[in-house]
Symmetry: C2
């Protein structure tokens, strides 16, 4: 099932439309933007994944060293210890390395379709030893005048969720890692419920458990507790292998509406919806039996990593949710959903 209306202009951003961060690398993919209103414009905080030009017979991966400089690691493709069967995560002698290095780029638009960079608002680059393999998939939530950026920090010690706050998009306050390894896909609720802040997050387990959506509480958005699993994968379903939250839950009369992603064993990523109780968001009221969006368009089926639609950013205006999403882990697209129709698909 697919109840979205895709932008006719899709894809709205491709790797060729943005400049690499340094001449030594090229942009492989644009992915999974955070989305927000600021100064009367629509902004995307796009994940830009780069890697150096490859030489025949070898694979060269970029990492940031702890001094914040780009370093290159090269493996021989015929080395029996080297495994590049997953295009996103390579393995060498038991250790894992990302095939690309990501940073976050700000682009803005007056119409929500045509985006461009503004030299006044620079990129957010990885910083420090928790981000030497990059920063990824940033959600942007707004509470009062402050924007809260929850994003994936990647380094050899693990993958966790970082928090950055800003009010002006020029000065950034880094609040460290709020969810430790292995964790991604953190979506903050944009208001307190019963005096507490809430977040959805996605821990992964090497044994017992899986890639499930959890909820947590906080007094201050920096320290989190009372973790509970609210949505597991479902055997035989489109979301049987992994699930993870998208952007900030949308407050509706029926409950908090969360658009999430689910993938099956073949790594086909679709979108679905969860409806959570307004007063107690750890209570799931409804969940999509069928996807609300599937990779159906050509640009969603073919690319760096095909058969993927993945969203972690949207704008809400009345009944309309405009989602911005990564397609095939390569290009950025847009689509619209009716909240009423999503609720109807949930039997509400």
């Amino acid at each position: 099932m697919d109840i979205t209306n895709r932008f006719s202009e899709n894809p709205i951003l491709t790797p060729k439309m943005v400049k690499p961060s340094t001449p030594s690398v090229g942009i492989e993919c644009l992915l999974n933007p955070g989305v927000f209103w600021f100064q009367g414009k629509v902004w995307l905080l796009v994940r830009v994944a780069e890697r150096p030009e490859q030489q025949e017979g070898t694979t060269t991966l970029p990492i940031y060293n702890q001094a914040g400089q780009l370093e290159l690691m090269t493996f021989r493709n015929d080395d029996p210890k080297f495994d590049d069967s997953d295009k996103r995560v390579f393995e060498y002698d038991g250790a894992h390395y990302l095939s690309t290095l990501s940073h976050l780029r700000l682009l803005s638009s007056h119409d929500g379709i045509h985006f461009s960079e503004d030299p006044e608002y620079g990129p957010i680059f990885p910083l420090g030893e928790q981000e030497t393999f990059g920063i990824e998939d940033c959600r942007v939530s707004q509470i009062g005048d402050t924007y809260y950026l929850t994003y994936t920090k990647v380094s050899p010690t693990g993958v966790g969720v970082g928090l950055i706050t800003t009010t002006d998009w020029k000065h950034f306050d880094r609040k460290g890692m709020i969810f430790p390894a292995h964790n991604k896909d953190c979506a903050l609720f944009e208001e307190r419920i019963g005096g507490k802040y809430y977040a959805l997050h996605r821990p992964s387990s090497p044994s017992i458990g899986g890639n499930y959506i959890w909820i947590a509480q906080s007094p201050d958005l920096e320290h989190w507790g009372h973790h509970q699993c609210i949505a597991t994968t479902r055997a035989g379903y489109w979301d049987c292998a992994r699930v993870g939250a998208g952007a900030a839950p949308i407050k509706t009369e029926a409950g908090w509406l969360e658009i999430y992603h689910g993938a099956n064993e073949a790594h086909r990523y679709c979108l679905g919806a969860l409806l959570l109780d307004l007063q107690n968001p750890s209570r799931v009221l409804a969940r999509s039996e069928e996807p609300i969006m599937e990779p159906l368009a050509g640009y969603e089926q073919t690319g760096f990593f095909g058969n993927v639609v993945f969203t972690n950013g949207h704008l809400v205006e009345g009944d309309t949710v405009t989602i911005y999403y990564g397609a095939s882990d390569e290009v950025i697209c847009g689509a619209q959903l009716s909240i009423k129709e999503v609720l109807k698909s949930l039997g509400r």
Copy 2:
């Protein structure tokens, strides 16, 4: 290397010395006690692992259902989907199940060697949907008059760290899950540092990262942030496969002294030490090159899961640390260490 003096009475507690929680099960193992002083006596909070009597050709596992009742699951041993090659965690059709179900039992002693149960102080049983596969390996930290119990909560949704507080060991206040899946081995510092509480914990990652020791900060012991990895496994060492904190760090003039466990690929568990900066405990000053304790005694080499010494409880009196530890995942033992000698082994 081994610089401990084992109790001559070891093992001090064996499965036969404790009664099962219900007649339908037997006690397979006593494991890894938390340790504390209370009412002038030494107390152990022992993990008791039980399972029903097994019938030939099948394997029966116990779980708690959400109503808090014991339920049994039976698998045919010749079912090709059933894998019991790890005696601790069985697999069926991709899902993992613990071979035993654990609860926590209080035993006390006047001499620290001979322990017995007191009907006034009952067991702590698993409770709720996060503990249907049991509760395990409880650390006990004391801050003021309050005891803080950090323990492993196990259920199909994952393995995480729970917090319970008590002042009288009769009334328990459950504070939910403080570190989400996959996490274990949480040791709380017993005082604030720079106004913040600190904890060591051990997340595990399915890819990128591993089974490493992390540190976190909290304003209230219930909500945690600022997670940082402080000790990874070390290739070629005795702790090359997994490491995890033991009991509360011991404050010394040289720094916070943490006795931790490390295991190699063959699942041989030894103990080592970490020395952390007094003002900034995320800074590691020294770490054991060689173990300070190895499974050398017969009862440490042979048992339910052999070649294991594992501690998460100790008493500190002057220069002497009395550790209580699980041997071969089956019996409880005691041993003493000199803080000076441990520091000397760290080059201090």
